[in-house]
Symmetry: C2
Subunit: 385 residues, 2 copies
């Protein structure tokens, strides 16, 4: 396959955008990415979105968004893989450009979650789980993550406060990100006293949802030397893997085998080793997911992901910087858009645009996007050249 | 891009499958295609589906279906473009195999529509239209097609009975297709006396929905010489184009510009001329769509698509055989699955497996799948070698 580069990026602030519609939010990120790329037309548009049929009564988001941004006539399609929809859309665009059939693609992850009441959104989010075997039993999506976290604490002997560094790091990093939903530092005491959502997951273990969109323009690498003095960003690795959709069907509910498999394939494709990864935007929808993701990708032994936080290795100056722009926890989690926020943030790191949370000399970055409780996981590795 | 072949196909009968769940229907077509291809594993699974979040409370259909068919660990993703979801999934799989990143893909179009009451399904189908500018005004999806048909009759002077040959041909052809939803011949009198749905669209202008799935296994063409004595089927052309999602925003509501553009690109890519197309599986969700599709693809002058039916050119022995297995009208229209049924049927024609409706010596076939009232349109051209 031919090599593909990310030429432009764009994003909106994640918030409750009562004043903006689904198409406006997606369009704003799309226009920003096109402007950043210096392009006014692309061959194809790939949209990552999970909830628009349920929350906005709108399907066919490809044509919907290409219409709004003026790409009439061009190809457009929506890709959905629950909370991994953003990265799945990037991978679909990547395959199309890599094949040689198209020469440019705009990839937009977009989600508008505030058009329905909270309980409706909770029900909509549960469609990421197995409707027949999980949701039908009355478990919510937070509930599934709570069961996983409780089992992990029991199995490996960690207490709830041991997860605090994940959320504290995310909140601290988000202070430097104008696009983040939350701008408030937190400490261990606040983490421990936060309102319980589904034991043991409390409010500060969980990421806030929101309205937002993030986008990127991708082109064949051979067509890009450098751009405005910025380094050329290559999509060096891309892989997607699945696991049973219901947690109870997995051989081990505490091992994200789809993360392991997609990361392994991405490392091979990008020809990088673990120690080459300078920054890792992982999918901390819940604090437990940070631990499981770090373990499955090889940064920690089984059951020891939490230790990386406790030993201060996850901050921007640590050994494995994660959530450098706030992560899902503080930047926010507009579900179908999140995967594209992660990619945009890795590009920002590789371009050296991250101010207070810049990872010094970052040349290789990884983004991992999780759908459901681990059923679909995509890993992308970007390199600055 | 490297050339891609269709190695195996599978489909289920379209019906009200009260006894089968969403995963079972999709799985049955998937297993049939894998068996036909002589494979028990593929690299990736691409699922085309429109309604599962709304009708079955199930998202993430990629992981959902890969779980059911035993493809744990493999890549899987869902693609959605309203009623064009099936062909959009095929194109996503095609790009991935063509890029060289993967070596085999299973593409499944699946829809389970009978898990909700009729009015809920009508509301779900309306998500193909523009929620803000069309549906909010109270128009249903049938209503939009009725407005288009009425305008066409007014503009070009056709009467309702002139559309009868489209439905009569479809019903006659479906008699030979064991997978078709409807097995009943109809005549002009029945067509004219059929119950009105939304003037001038009556029941025999409209396609029946249903539960069903169709699937194909695709691989690099270089890996296939021939298979069980069947010709090698190449995906010679593939293109997707969009138009405004709301009909009123289009320059001309009677011209499917996305059909014109995707067909034009597909002809060029496949290096075929109009007269090379031996069989054309078009998207006759409503009889008016047959006329508009034939016109946009160049088989008839503007406003004259109806004439092809009246002059008996659309039957299997005619100049432009369409809906040779029953089309959406009589084979049935399980919306997100339809695009894959069309492709499977073109393969059957090119393999010479169509018994009573076989087009003699068919070597080149085209399938065109329409999302919404023409907002997303994909055209695929297959060749037998």
């Amino acid at each position: 396959m031919r090599e593909v580069a990310i030429l432009g990026i764009g994003q909106t602030k994640i918030d409750e955008h009562w004043e903006l519609s689904l198409r406006e939010i997606g369009g704003n990120a799309a226009f920003a990415a096109m402007q950043d790329a210096g392009m006014d037309k692309v061959d194809s548009l790939f949209v990552g979105n999970m909830l628009s049929p349920l929350v906005s009564g709108q399907n066919q988001l490809g044509a919907f968004l290409s219409d709004w941004v003026g790409l009439w006539g061009q190809e457009s399609v929506k890709v959905e893989a629950a909370c991994a929809s953003g990265a799945a859309a990037l991978r679909a665009g990547l395959m199309a450009v890599a094949s040689g059939d198209i020469d440019s693609a705009l990839v937009v992850g977009v989600e508008k979650m505030t058009d329905k009441a909270g309980h409706d959104v909770t029900a909509a989010l549960a469609t990421a789980a197995d409707a027949d075997y999980e949701v039908e039993q009355g478990v919510s999506f937070v509930g599934i993550n709570a069961l996983i976290m409780r089992r992990y604490m029991h199995e490996y002997g960690w207490k709830h406060a041991d997860f605090a560094p994940f959320s504290i790091n995310a909140h601290a990093n988000a202070m430097q990100n104008p696009f983040a939903r939350l701008h408030q530092k937190i400490n261990v005491e606040q983490f421990e006293k936060s309102a319980m959502v589904a034991t043991p997951v409390n409010l500060l273990d969980a990421s806030p949802t929101g309205d937002g969109a993030a986008a990127a323009v991708i082109v064949p690498a051979e067509k890009v030397a450098s751009w405005n003095g910025k380094p050329r960003i290559i999509i060096a690795g891309s892989a997607s893997a699945t696991d049973s959709i219901a947690v109870h069907s997995r051989k081990d509910p505490l091992f994200l085998s789809a993360a392991y498999q997609s990361a392994k394939r991405a490392y091979e494709m990008a020809n990088v080793a673990l120690e080459d990864i300078d920054v890792f935007e992982l999918h901390d929808a819940f604090s437990i997911m940070s631990a499981l993701s770090l373990e499955a990708c090889g940064f920690a032994e089984r059951g020891q992901g939490v230790r990386l936080g406790l030993e201060d290795e996850i901050c921007p100056t640590g050994r494995v910087p994660i959530c450098t722009r706030g992560g899902l926890k503080a930047r926010g989690h507009p579900v179908g858009a999140t995967g594209m926020y992660q990619v945009v943030e890795v590009v920002q790191q590789l371009r050296g645009e991250c101010n207070g949370t810049q990872v010094d000399g970052a040349r290789v970055g990884m983004a991992q996007n999780i759908g459901g409780s681990g059923a679909t996981i995509l890993t992308h590795i970007l390199k600055a050249e």
